[in-house]
């Protein structure tokens, strides 16, 4: 990261931990090779890949044979949902998800609905917690999959996954959880959660971009998504991204060791930021669950001003935050997550997400607390709604 910049958009992506890059480096040239080949350097690469698989498995309490490498969270989500849909198409065509899923899930469901699947979108309460009862009642004999994210990327609300997974199990329905925002941040045990499939992505926890994984519980009937060679027991084609996979493994190892301590530190900073903003800026709404929320995430609505204008002004001060999910900042729609928790569109336009991470320092928070009130004041002065209310 450049000096003097204050990065608070860790939910969008994280810098690659230098220790991760360090272990990756050699595999570009000196130790490069295709792990599917039989010769020695290839065999060594293969061993490193299996070690990485072991590390991923350890982080999420799974068996190595249940881990498959992908190009990231989006591919894992696509694989999970399409894979189950195609594999069970003779059993049923109904999928239950929620209104606040990531676009990787929502747009996959949209695609499936075009080709004959039926999708039910469970609503959420004002904190962003999905309506478990609604899910239970939506189940019918055609239901083949329930997919609910572990924690929401925009507001950080953590879902009652264990409870939903139990319902799925009782009804003999597969359960997938998009854990892209939780793996590496908080302890995730696939066994405790009771899930059949989860998605995870390296770049969300200090690993490299372009690599992720999917956990598929032994015995799960799922179609391959990326068809190709014999890699990953024939379940995911494509030459192994050796440096990427080794980097993911290292990121998992570091997360396992350091997660707890980082969490404490980051939570302290986030809480200080939240408190400071609430005290210094009037008419702010904090989004997400008061307790069951990612410790690094602070999503708020600044009434009477528009989010992008705040972001750009922060940018002038080299403070990098976001107005929600990075993927939709190309669009002008207010966040589907904020609308789902009942924020009126005109207020949803003023949303701001600070997501903190391990390289943030206390000065960063102080700086934000210094400049943000001024920015908001300036923009509110410009707004036709501010003084008149």
């Amino acid at each position: 990261m450049e000096n003097k910049t204050i990065y608070m958009d860790y939910n969008a992506t994280t810098p690659t931990d230098p220790r991760v890059l360090e272990v990756m480096k050699d595999y570009f040239f000196e130790k490069f090779g295709n792990p599917s080949s039989i010769y020695e350097i290839a065999r060594e690469n293969k061993k490193e890949i299996e070690k990485a698989r072991q590390k991923v498995a350890e982080l999420i309490d799974a068996e190595p044979e249940e881990i498959f490498f992908t190009s990231g969270g989006t591919e894992s989500d696509n694989w999970a949902i399409k894979g189950i849909s195609f594999a069970l198409k003779n059993k049923g065509n109904h999928i239950i998800t929620s209104q606040i899923e990531h676009h990787a899930v929502l747009n996959t469901c949209k695609f499936l609905s075009k080709i004959g699947y039926e999708i039910t979108y469970a609503p959420v309460d004002k904190y962003g917690v999905v309506d478990v009862d609604f899910i239970r009642k939506s189940i019918k004999k055609e239901t083949i999959l329930i997919t609910i994210m572990h924690a929401n990327n925009e507001i950080g609300t953590i879902q009652p996954i264990e409870e939903i997974a139990k319902i799925a199990k009782e009804n003999g329905i597969y359960f997938h959880s998009d854990c892209v925002q939780t793996v590496g941040k908080i302890p995730v045990s696939v066994k405790k959660l009771g899930v059949d499939i989860i998605s995870l992505s390296a770049h969300k926890f200090y690993g490299p971009k372009g690599v992720g994984a999917i956990y598929i519980k032994k015995g799960t009937k799922i179609e391959t998504f990326i068809h190709g060679g014999e890699q990953e027991k024939g379940k995911r084609g494509g030459t192994y991204n050796v440096p990427g996979i080794i980097g993911l493994g290292k990121a998992c190892e570091i997360a396992k060791e350091e997660m707890e301590e980082e969490a404490k530190k980051v939570k302290y900073l986030r809480d200080k930021l939240e408190k400071g903003i609430m005290e210094n800026i009037p008419e702010i709404i904090i989004n997400g669950h008061p307790e069951n929320r990612l410790y690094n995430t602070l999503n708020l609505c600044v009434k009477y001003v528009e989010g992008e204008s705040i972001l750009l002004n922060l940018d002038f001060e080299k403070i990098y935050a976001s107005s929600g999910s990075a993927c939709t900042s190309g669009s002008l729609e207010p966040s589907h997550v904020l609308l789902a928790i009942g924020i009126p569109p005109e207020i949803a336009h003023g949303s701001l997400r600070f997501s903190l991470g391990k390289y943030n320092k206390e000065e960063d928070v102080d700086k934000v607390l210094d400049v943000l009130p001024k920015i908001v004041e300036k923009l509110r002065k410009m707004s036709p709604f501010w003084e008149k209310k």
Binding site: E308, G330, P334, S383
Partner: protein
Amino acid sequence: MDYTEKVLEYFRNPRNMGRIENADGIGKVGNPVCGDVMWIYIKVRKNEKGEEIIEDIKFETFGCAAAIATSSVVTELAKGKTLSEAEKISNKDVVEFLGGLPPIKKHCSLLAEEGLKAAINDYRKKNKK
């Protein structure tokens, strides 16, 4: 979002920002639900030729950087012009002045054009002889 230097400069230091008490015309356009609202205030006087000119103009905007920059530019372009000249200011003029806008942000400049026209119309309506 790729804003030009000029957009960023106008967003940072908008001209004619604020309200005119007792304005001769107010144009209110946009919709808060869509995230864009612009109010344009004008003060009109006659010049020596008896033409109505925009003596003062201000804006209040709830919207993105492009909306704020275009608000500012449209007020600058209109200031001192006769009403009929001012009515000819199009969103294209505004975009050109700013050295372009990202495609997805073109509609913000339309808002500026419409805001100015709405203010002039409001003035005309109030002063209908």
